[in-house]
């Protein structure tokens, strides 16, 4: 893991302004921000460890635990909300037997909500990894997960 983090660090200058881009790159590489990774980043930038954690925990994008192989992001935008997003989230929680923010025990899925995917005209919607699933109903949700969530 050291090598992977160091490889990322060496591609950035030791500049405080690079803190967020570094955190993003490290998370993209490891899937989450480990304590060890944050300590190395703090050391590299010469920024107190508390501040690295302070920044990382401020932004919704950063995670401190490993995620499942597939990341589900349910849109909780306004258009989705008025067209039934809460029921979509309920249904997914029911089907996968996890709550928002949790990962299934087989590490297959992590369930998150996002402020808005920006596909409001196709609401309600969710993203699984980079794929958007539009105009969902509770029934459609079940179909998606019975197929393994990889194709529509």
């Amino acid at each position: 893991m050291h090598d992977r983090i160091d490889a990322i660090l060496s591609s950035y200058g030791r500049d405080r302004a690079n803190l967020i881009p570094i955190l993003q790159s490290v998370q993209a590489e490891l899937g989450y921000l480990s304590e060890e990774a944050m300590l190395r980043i703090a050391d590299y930038l010469g920024v107190p460890e508390s501040q690295v954690y302070g920044v990382a925990s401020f932004y919704a994008q950063f995670r401190f635990t490993p995620t499942g192989r597939n990341r589900i992001m349910v849109c909780r935008g306004t258009a989705c909300h008025v067209r039934g997003a809460p029921r979509i989230l309920d249904e997914i929680q029911q089907v996968l037997n996890i709550r928002e923010g949790e990962t299934t025990s087989d590490m297959e899925y992590t369930l998150e909500t996002v402020a808005c995917i920006g596909c409001c005209a196709l609401s309600p919607c969710m993203m699984i990894n980079r794929e958007v699933y539009a105009k969902l109903t509770p029934t459609k949700v079940r179909e998606v997960f019975s197929k393994g969530g990889q194709e529509q």
Partner: protein
């Protein structure tokens, strides 16, 4: 290469495309198109073309804004107007190739309209259809018509002539041009753009910075995403003009990480600008040097606030600070900084290309120009629209939007996202401009426009927005951090039927404190959705206090039941119920166990329409 050389190349390429001897097929593959299945359509088209061994050019374009009809495919055969088709799936795509390309049957039933000179029988002109006729496409002129990954297309349509013109002008002249155009910030607050620039130009301190705010965080809004995905250079040109005018050498674009395609398009566009000498040292030989950095947001709504955004670029927690000093005098790293919204910058490019008078042709006295909106929610034709400021809400919702889905009753239109408010039917004839919307208790905002119908509970909507702002509150100042939490708790009680007398008054009192006491725009405007729903839909609050949710949304106040004389005992609902709350033998009337029922509504959804045996009730 000189700019004239670039223009020549661009014109040649564009002309070759418009006079192409083979049919040109354009597929809208912005995020909205992709989520509706546009990528599968592209694959199907390629396969069909190969199978039929017929030559045609496939070009991926951005979004025309007709999101309700995605995926969209436009086919132009030589010597004909282009035909735009809606709701194209892979099967239809294959048929378009075999019927229209090979047999010359334009399949008029699937066509939305034609674009360009000439007519095709049975197909209207696209820009004369009800959804587009009231619109004025200026900011969005290129969206869906050019290849957003090709700088030559942008240049061929007049792109970067605004920059060239600006480079030949004095800074004061440019600011004056923007002033005469009457451009006001499109991020929502409506501050005159020229003033911001003037303050920054006059502020002491070097270097200066310009920042494009592409942290479009309002839920229900996607104007900026669509523009960046469909025509990124129009924004980048504006940023260059901005930088030149205030004397900056560096610019930043702060874009949400939730918009991966917009980011990809920006990186691609920037690389092309570099190749063409439109960014970097001594741009177009003018002596003006300028570089652009793209910064990815990390998922914090408050970073749309300008001082929080700057903190985030500096690598800190995105927390706002008190103003003054304003960023124009002390911004990024304490230096004079101008922060402009994506659409503001795209407007700047247009003003410099076409002139202030041209820009101000449309709009009302104090709100000039056109504005893009994301028209979504319970409306028939949802999409990205561009209208002259001053148009009425009715013209937007009923004219462009085609009215309410399922012809239900209109209840409210929400503008301005979590900072805005819900406007009732009585205000449908108000003009859409900065002042009128503020008077009504809402704001223009960045352009989200969510339509709500009789099935939308206004108390639930108020709670929804408060839930959002409360979670996104950065926690720095007390009124916002604790006030939104208190309001949220009261609203939750009301939606759960635990409301007490005096709750509405208490909400109003706390709302006022949050509005007056908060440090930044997030807190100052967070109470707006609550205050406007109380102002215009107080009866709904009262109904909740009496244990009824008139729109049948709030779970604690509704029940599902099966109407005995309509139930055929088909067991569809029984099998669909996720918690086994429904019982009943085949061909016998079913019943729902209220204790087990989680009110997910699946039974209502699956009960065949011809039976309609499941109903939702509220109250005693």
């Amino acid at each position: 290469m000189t700019f004239e050389g670039l223009q020549r190349r661009a014109r040649d390429e564009w002309q070759a495309l418009s006079e192409s001897a083979v049919p040109l097929i354009q597929v809208g593959t912005a995020t909205c198109g992709r989520s509706a299945g546009a990528s599968a359509v592209v694959d199907a088209l390629r396969e069909a073309l190969q199978r039929e061994a017929t030559p045609a050019l496939i070009m991926e374009v951005g979004c025309i804004g007709l999101c309700f009809a995605e995926p969209l495919v436009t086919i132009r055969k030589p010597g004909r107007p282009a035909v735009c088709y809606g709701h194209v799936n892979p099967e239809r795509a294959t048929q378009l190739v075999s019927e229209y390309l090979l047999r010359d049957n334009p399949l008029a039933d699937w066509a939305l309209g034609t674009v360009g000179e000439g007519r095709i029988e049975g197909i209207p002109e696209l820009f004369e259809t009800p959804v587009l006729r009231p619109q004025v496409r200026r900011i969005l002129r290129n969206c869906g018509f050019i290849d957003p990954t090709n700088i030559l297309h942008y240049v061929a349509r007049g792109g970067y002539t605004g920059l060239v013109r600006a480079l030949g002008m004095a800074r004061g002249q440019i600011i004056d041009e923007i002033r005469r155009a009457g451009l006001r910030g499109r991020g929502g607050a409506g501050f005159p753009t020229w003033r911001k620039w003037q303050f920054c130009l006059e502020a002491p301190g070097e270097p200066k910075y310009v920042v494009c705010n592409a942290d479009e965080g309002d839920p229900g809004a996607f104007m900026n995403r669509s523009l960046l995905e469909s025509d990124p250079h129009s924004v980048l040109e504006g940023l260059l003009i901005d930088g030149y005018t205030v004397g900056a050498r560096e610019g930043y674009i702060y874009c949400r990480a939730e918009y991966p395609l917009a980011l990809e398009r920006l990186h691609n566009a920037l690389a092309q600008m570099r190749e063409q000498g439109l960014v970097g040292e001594n741009i177009l030989g003018s002596g003006f040097s300028f570089d652009i950095h793209i910064k990815e947001g990390a998922g914090a709504f408050v970073c749309g606030e300008e001082t929080a955004l700057l903190a985030s670029i500096e690598g800190r927690r995105g927390m706002p600070r008190p103003r003054p000093p304003f960023p124009a005098t002390s911004g990024l790293w304490g230096k004079p900084t101008v922060i402009n919204n994506v659409e503001t910058l795209a407007s700047v490019s247009l003003i410099l290309q076409k002139g202030a008078e041209w820009f101000a042709e449309y709009g009302s006295e104090k709100s000039k120009g056109t504005k893009t909106f994301a028209l979504v929610g319970k409306v028939k034709r949802a999409g990205l629209i561009e209208v002259p400021l001053g148009i009425t809400l009715r013209d937007i919702v009923y004219g462009i939007g085609g009215g309410i889905l399922g012809d239900k009753r209109f209840k409210a239109v929400q503008t301005g996202g979590p900072s805005g408010g819900c406007l009732p039917e009585a205000l449908l004839d108000s003009p859409v401009d900065y002042e009128s919307l503020t008077t009504a208790g809402s704001i223009m905002g960045s352009g989200g426009m969510v339509v709500m119908d009789e099935d939308t509970c206004m108390v639930d909507v108020a709670r929804y927005f408060l839930d959002f702002t409360q979670k996104e509150s950065c926690g720095e100042c007390v009124p916002c951090r604790l006030g939104t939490k208190q309001m949220m708790d009261i609203l939750t009680d009301i939606t759960e039927g635990k409301g007490r007398e005096g709750d509405v008054e208490l909400l109003q009192e706390v709302a006022l404190a949050v509005k007056k006491g908060s440090l930044c725009g997030l807190g100052q405007t967070a109470p707006n959705p609550v205050l406007t729903t109380i102002r215009y839909f107080r009866d709904e609050y009262e109904a909740h206090e009496q244990g009824r949710c008139p729109s049948k949304v709030c779970k604690a106040l509704i029940r599902y039941r099966i109407v005995a004389d309509k139930c055929k005992g088909c067991q569809i609902c029984l099998r669909a119920c996720p918690v086994g709350a429904i019982s009943g033998e085949r061909r016998q009337v079913h019943t729902i166990d209220v204790g087990k029922c989680i009110r997910c509504g699946v039974c209502l959804e699956v009960c065949p329409a011809r039976f309609g045996a499941v109903e939702c009730v509220t109250g005693q």
